[in-house]
C-alpha cells in the first residue's frame, strides 16, 4: 500500500502537524518507503493468532481509590508557556 499527497495531508491533520506544501512530496516519499518496508508482514499467516496485549503476562494491579500526591495548582501550571493565575490559556474555542 502507498499513500498519495492528499493522504499525506490528511494524516498530517490527524496528527495535528502543520505541513508546508513544499514538504508534501518528500514526506510522501519517506512514508511510502516505510510502508514498503512493512509490506512483507502481509505474507505472514496470522490465522487464529491472538494479538499481543501484554508483553509480560501480568495481572493489572488495583490501587485504593483515594487522593494522593496533591501537587497543587501552582506546581501544575508552573511549566505552562502561557497562563493566567491557575489557568492554562488557549485561543478562544467557543464563540
Amino acid at each position: 500500500m502507498s499513500v498519495d499527497q492528499a493522504t499525506v495531508r490528511r494524516i498530517a491533520h490527524l496528527a495535528r502537524i502543520a505541513v508546508k506544501d513544499e514538504d508534501v512530496p518528500h514526506l510522501q516519499q519517506e512514508l511510502n518507503a516505510i510502508l514498503a518496508f512493512v509490506e512483507e508482514l502481509g505474507s505472514v499467516d496470522v490465522e487464529g493468532v491472538e494479538p499481543m496485549t501484554s508483553v509480560i503476562p501480568m495481572k493489572m494491579k488495583m490501587r485504593a481509590d483515594e487522593v494522593n500526591d496533591q501537587a497543587g495548582a501552582d506546581v501544575i501550571v508552573a511549566n505552562a508557556p502561557q497562563r493566567e493565575d491557575h489557568f492554562f490559556t488557549v485561543p478562544k474555542v467557543v464563540e
Binding site: I17, A18, L35, L41, G42, P81, Q82
Partner: protein, 507 residues
C-alpha cells in the same frame, strides 16, 4: 596514577570505602573531564553544584558509616528521565524550558542509594534514532577516532556544529554511551525501545543491559512506545552494569507494568560458572549481506562460551525477519498516542495560531524534528479507520508469534541466546542521511526482537573490527533471568579481554 574518572564503578566504590579518595574528589575529577570534553556533545546540561552537594553529603554518610550501595558514585542521566528542577526535554525542541516538579523512579532509586548526578545526557529526540543525530541539541561524537584519522583532524571536526565525519556513538542513548566510553561518568542511565541501550554500547566498546519489560519502573521516563520502553544502564563492564541495575530495578506502585518481584543481587551472578548452561545460536540471525567480520566475531563468541563449559545448540526463531517491520508499526502507533500530549498548552514550546487547531499544528510542526514527525504520522496512519486491522492488529499478532519463537527455545532448555549486537561497527556522522529512513532502521535488526518479546538483552564488548572499531555481542535471556545474562556476559567479557578505550584526544 590513574585519574579518578578512569576507575571502573566497582573500583571507585572500593576506593571510597577504603577512604583512598573522597566523593567530592571523585565528582570533581568527572566535572573537570566533562569540561574538557564539551566538544563531544555528550552532556546537554551539566549540574556541577548538584554533583558537589550530593558528593559532600555522600562523604558525610561514608564517614558516619551510613553509605548506600552507590554512595558517592558519579552518574550521568539520559535526558529522557525526569529530574526534579533540572533540564528534562528528551532532547526535543517541543519541551523547551521544561523542568519537572518530580523525579523519575529510576533516578530516585539511584539517589536513594547515594549516587551523584553529574548532568543530563544527549540522546536522539524522544529516543527515536540510532545515531544520536536527531537530537535538537546536535549530534554526539563517539570518543573513538574514525579509521585513519589523526587527533588534529578529529579536533577540527569537533569544533564544527555538524561534527561531520566523526563517528556516531549509536542511539538513542548516544550521550550515555559516549560519556561512559570517554570517562565522563562511571555509568549512565539509558533506555531501550528497539535497541537504544545495546546498539550504542556495541558502537562504543561499553556494556549495556536492557532488562525484562517490567523490571524497572517507567514512571517519570518520557514515553516513546510504552509496551517496549525499558530503563537500563550503560557502564564500562558487566560488573558495573550489575551494580547499577540492582539499584535501578524494583517494583513501583506508580507504574502498573512494573513487576512486584524481589531484585536479586546481580553482582553475585558476575563470575558464576556457566558450565553446562545451554546457549542457543539462532540461524535466522545470519542475515544476508552481514559483513564477514561480524560473522567471525559471532563464531568466536560461540567458541569462548564452549570453552567456558557451555553447551552450544543451534536454534530456530522463524519469525525474526518480521520483527523489525512489525516494530515500525507498533512503535510509531504508540508514539503517535504518547506524543499527543505535546500541545503547546501545558508545557514546553508554544507557537501562536489564530485558533486552537492552528496553535496545535504550528507548535507540533516547529517543536518536533523530522524523524519524530515522520513516526507520529506513520503511527496516525496505521491507527486510522480502515487501516487499524491491516497494520496495527496484524503487527500485534506477529508480535505474539515472535514471542512464541523464544518461548519454544526456552522450553527446550535454552538458558541464553547469543547473537551479534549490530550488523556493522559505528558509521560516520552524516553518512546515513539519505531520503530512505529505513536505512537507519536496519541498525536495530538484531536488537528489536528482544523488545518485541519483552525479554532481557545484554550488549557486551567482544572485540574490534578490521578498522579497529568496537564490536559487541548480544545475549538474550529468559524473562526476569537477568542473573544468567550477567554470568554469561561476564564469560564473554573475560574471554574477549579488556577494551582499551580511546585516550582523550578531545581534551
Amino acid at each position: 596514577m590513574t585519574s579518578l574518572n578512569e576507575l571502573t564503578l566497582a573500583q571507585a566504590r572500593d576506593a571510597l570505602a577504603a577512604k583512598k579518595a573522597s566523593a567530592v574528589e571523585l565528582a570533581q575529577a568527572h566535572l573537570d573531564a566533562m569540561e574538557k570534553a564539551r566538544g563531544l556533545g555528550a552532556y546537554v546540561a551539566e549540574t556541577p553544584e548538584i554533583a558537589l552537594d550530593m558528593a559532600r553529603r555522600s562523604d558525610q554518610r561514608i564517614a558516619s558509616g551510613e553509605a548506600g550501595a552507590l554512595e558517592g558514585l558519579p552518574i550521568g542521566v539520559k535526558d529522557l528521565y525526569a529530574t526534579k528542577g533540572v533540564h528534562t526535554q528528551a532532547c526535543s525542541h517541543i519541551l523547551d524550558g521544561f523542568k519537572p516538579a518530580y523525579e523519575s523512579t529510576v533516578s530516585a532509586n539511584l539517589w536513594r542509594d547515594g549516587a551523584v548526578m553529574l548532568g543530563k545526557l544527549n540522546m536522539d529526540e524522544f529516543a527515536m534514532g540510532s545515531s544520536n543525530e536527531t537530537s535538537f541539541y546536535g549530534p554526539v561524537a563517539s570518543p573513538w577516532l574514525p579509521p585513519g584519522w589523526s587527533a588534529d583532524k578529529a579536533r577540527a571536526a569537533l569544533a564544527t556544529k555538524e561534527k561531520a565525519g566523526l563517528l556516531v556513538p549509536g542511539g538513542s542513548s548516544g550521550g550515555s554511551a559516549s560519556a561512559v566510553a570517554a570517562h565522563l561518568c562511571l555509568g549512565a542511565t539509558a533506555s531501550d525501545t528497539g535497541g537504544s541501550i545495546r546498539q550504542p554500547a556495541a558502537f562504543t566498546g561499553t556494556a549495556g543491559v536492557k532488562p525484562t519489560y517490567g523490571r524497572c519502573s517507567r514512571w517519570g521516563m518520557v514515553a516513546f512506545a510504552s509496551s517496549l520502553d525499558q530503563a537500563g544502564p550503560i557502564a564500562r563492564n558487566v560488573r558495573d552494569c550489575a551494580i547499577l541495575l540492582r539499584s535501578m530495578a524494583g517494583h513501583d506502585p506508580k507504574d502498573t507494568t512494573s513487576v512486584d518481584a524481589p531484585v536479586p543481587d546481580y553482582e553475585k551472578a558476575v563470575g558464576a560458572s556457566i558450565k553446562g548452561r545451554k546457549i542457543g545460536i539462532p540461524k535466522e540471525y545470519r542475515v544476508s549481506g552481514m559483513p564477514e567480520e561480524i560473522d567471525a566475531l559471532w563464531r568466536k563468541g560461540v567458541d569462548w562460551l564452549r570453552d567456558a563449559g557451555a553447551e552450544i545448540v543451534e536454534i530456530s526463531l522463524p519469525h525474526t525477519k518480521y520483527a523489525l517491520p512489525a516494530y515500525y508499526i507498533v512503535a510509531p502507533a504508540e508514539a503517535s498516542s504518547n506524543l499527543a500530549r505535546y500541545d503547546g498548552v501545558r508545557y514546553g514550546l508554544r507557537a501562536p495560531g489564530r485558533d486552537i487547531r492552528e496553535l496545535y499544528e504550528n507548535t507540533r510542526a516547529q517543536g518536533f524534528g523530522p524523524e519524530v514527525r515522520r513516526r507520529i504520522m506513520i503511527g496516525a496512519y496505521v491507527l486510522s479507520a480502515g487501516y487499524y486491522d491491516a497494520y496495527y492488529v496484524r503487527a500485534q499478532k506477529i508480535r505474539t508469534l515472535i514471542r512464541r519463537d523464544f518461548e519454544a527455545a526456552f522450553h527446550d532448555g535454552v538458558d541464553a541466546i547469543l547473537t551479534p549486537a549490530t550488523p556493522s561497527p559505528a558509521f560516520a556522522i552524516g553518512e546515513k542521511t539519505s531520503a530512505d529512513p529505513v536505512e537507519m532502521y536496519l541498525n536495530d535488526v538484531f536488537t528489536v526482537t528482544v523488545n518485541m518479546a519483552g525479554l532481557p538483552g545484554f550488549a557486551v564488548p567482544a572485540g574490534l573490527s578490521k578498522d579497529g572499531l568496537p564490536l559487541g555481542l548480544q545475549l538474550i535471556g529468559r524473562p526476569f533471568d537477568e542473573e544468567t545474562l550477567f554470568s554469561v556476559a561476564q564469560a564473554v567479557e573475560e574471554a574477549a579481554g579488556p577494551v582499551s578505550l580511546p585516550k582523550p584526544w578531545w581534551a
